[in-house]
């Protein structure tokens, strides 16, 4: 089963959403999948409270601030 990912603009499986953020699920996973099965219950079982907080209760950044952070991180890498 696949649903359309509003971030990617393409079809994805639940497995993809579950590891979209590397070790954590996509922060949209509950919203996207709650129509299909009790996803929140499943995710709560799977994550520790700390992981849950990291995944779902983090203060999101504005895009420009995300860019600034990525720029700062990339500056420390060698220039071609």
């Amino acid at each position: 089963m696949e649903i359309r990912c509003p971030k990617l603009g393409g079809q994805v499986t639940f497995a993809y959403c579950l590891k979209e953020a590397g070790e954590l699920p996509c922060s949209r996973i509950i919203n996207c999948w709650q129509s299909y099965f009790p996803v929140e219950k499943y995710i709560r079982k799977r994550l520790t409270p700390a992981e849950w907080k990291r995944c779902f209760n983090q203060t999101p950044k504005e895009k420009i601030l995300t860019l600034i952070e990525l720029i700062e991180a990339a500056k420390n890498k060698p220039v071609k």
Binding site: E2, I3, K7, G10, K19, G22, E40, N57, L67, I68
Partner: protein, 464 residues
Amino acid sequence: MVFFNWKGENNMKQTKVFLNESEMPRQWYNIVADLPTPMSPPLHPGTGQPVGPDDLAPVFPMNLIEQEVSTERWIDIPEPVLDKLCLWRPSPLYRARNFEKLLDAPVKIYYKNEGVSPPGSHKPNTAVAQAYYNKVFGIKRLSTETGAGQWGSALSMACQMFGLECRVFMVKISYEQKPYRRLMMMTWGADCIPSPSNLTQAGRKILDEYPDSPGSLGMAISEAIEDAVGDKDARYSLGSVLNHVLLHQTIIGLEAQKQLEKIGDYPDIVMGCAGGGSNFAGLCLPFVRDKIHGKQISIVAVEPTSCPTMTRGPFAYDFGDTAMTTPLLPMHTLGHGFVPAPIHAGGLRYHGMAPILSHLLKEQIIEARALDQIETFTAGINWARTEGFIPAPETNHAIAAVVQEAQKAKEEGKEKTILFNWSGHGLVDLAAYDAFLSGKLKTYDLPEEELQKALKSIEGFPKP
């Protein structure tokens, strides 16, 4: 003026309104000049000071940074940009007479057809401008990320037009599933890389940990930024959210205003789908200006219920507005127990949404609505069966909202004129239509058996 209708007959029912190339707007409109209240500048996470031009210089050329922070109301569109835009612009304004007939409501429906661009969406309106400004700044290569490829294909074409190299980090799962957009990028000469890749430290780190990682948009952005920062001849390009991107898209609404003026009409409602917000903003910002100056008009952004950045703003709260002069609002929840109760409305930010639109929403100049995918695909199918054009799945959100407005007008017995942005065609997204037509998108409670099957499919993935 030439009159056409669906059957191509010359009669008095006008379906399209054209502008000559000479009538194309020569300036973009900058809403920042007309905002009733100023926007708070974003603060640098390291210094706590407002983000300045130097902070952005590693990834954007200074001419675009100047646009990003500009408060000038009108900004000239350079001639070389106009020359390229003329390949498909001015885009036609259509009257959706067949869809109106289907709805049988007292509404006139107009739409800007942005699907006529070579990549099939509104995205090249800013891609062309960004490529040009980078070129004149002396940049040789642009780097970007793309999900399913809509932005990547637009930038690939634009770079080719101005003789720039283009590198697109495409989320691996889409790279493998979406060969057509990948091939469009390659046809336009871009280097399309599945992300995570071995080209960057960010990509290599992920691949070391998860060799089969399907990638994500966040990961692809990290790679594109690193790629741009690490090459003095390269810069990064973003297809939505930022002020200068929205600025470039205002040509859509400016054209629409001229076209409506030609036929002596004006909308009661302006609508568009909103992900990052660029296509919605492109159509609506010139009308927001009218509204600020007294026009009675509703301006509605439509988003998916599965990604409700504006209608719910889940997890999207910060306290950037330190004055805290506005009342607290209750936070909408996505499920009990995992969302903090109060947020400060004055500092509310909608993650992933353009700050300008967040600001207009906060000021109640625009409104937002969320629709589910079943409703939107139903509207899109009805659209295709009446108007012919197959919309992009995102565009279906705007169409579904138009349907709602038409039904409302019918119930109230009021005549309404609706304008919306038909932001792109869906010819490269037919897999999504396949899923809908075969019933796979149906909203239902997943049977236990299928749930177990779905969960079984993820066994073996690393547990956090």
